[in-house]
Symmetry: C2
Subunit: 147 residues, 2 copies
DNA sequence: ATAGGGCCTCTAGTCACTAGAGGTTCAAGA
DNA sequence: TCTTGAACCTCTAGTGACTAGAGGCCCTAT
């Protein structure tokens, strides 16, 4: 007879917490599993694979919407896989933009620290910089879309 | 007589949206302003300064908790400014860790794209990699605390 | 005096979970 | 077989940092 996993088994094997698995089911990411007579969820091997796939896609930083999309694609082995490329390329661009924004931010922050000597708040260069853009970096502006 | 700004004036001058200003007030980040006879908020120049300070700190990526802290510190010009250093240094470390995590991620994503040829989903290397850690990068694991 | 844009409060929605209450079921040991 | 207690169930609410909408009042310029 086929393997059968409780929700806790799945959690232990995938590292995804039990409430999160139920949440994934509630948003339609995981199919509804069979139940025991006492209404507890029982999963098969395929659910385990799906959950690992989800965990892996999330680890790559894909938002849930893309994970949905990826699962849909993966469910049809005979179709062409070109959409995958687009999704991964899109994610790569996001990550690169994020890196360059954060790199600018890193430079600004270390610039603040570099020019800093301990004194009173009233004389503090860092506080001054927070109060006035023109002091925090020459000709500078913050245009990160938010982190 | 002193300058007086409506909440919309503040929004235009700081780039922070009106509901956000009300939200900041609700969480105690901005003091409660005076009101007109008709119950509308009227701000002075100090509120404008505070709001600009908040916007700037947020642009540096500080979470609200730290913004609170920074405002508290800035409100006491005679005290020593050493806590500022700690806050900025902490933020810098976060940013650096984030950059290194994202850099690894970038390399993995471009690795996936590099080895990819269009075919069917069933043969797709990228889908395979999502299904199996051992294929997505040799000896690799994803341990980003979450983006 | 009236039009209409700005302002008010309150509620609910976002994303991806997480925590808790209060109750039921399963499985292992006696 | 019975008992215990860990694991499971559903449902609600909370997180952070806002954003959107409903329904209604105010302010100011013409
Ligand atoms: Zn200082
Ligand atoms: Zn600045
Ligand atoms: Zn492919
Ligand atoms: Zn992997």
């Amino acid at each position: 007879m086929a393997e059968s996993f409780s929700i806790g088994d799945l959690a232990r094997r995938t590292g995804i917490k039990v409430p999160t698995i139920r949440y994934y089911e509630s948003i339609g990411l995981m199919p509804e599993p069979d139940r025991t007579a006492g209404n507890q969820r029982r999963y098969g091997r395929d659910a385990l694979d799906t959950l690992n796939f989800i965990a892996h896609a999330r680890a790559f930083g894909f938002p849930m919407k893309s994970v949905h999309h990826l699962l849909d694609i993966a469910a049809h082995p005979e179709r062409p896989c070109e959409d995958i490329d687009a999704l991964v390329a899109e994610r790569l661009i996001e990550v690169e933009m994020r890196i360059s924004g954060l790199t600018r931010l890193r430079d600004e922050l270390s610039g603040l620290l570099a020019g800093h000597e301990h004194g009173t708040v009233g004389e503090c260069r860092i506080i001054e910089a927070f109060s006035d853009h023109s002091l925090c970096a020459p000709g500078h502006k913050h245009d990160l879309p938010m982190e």
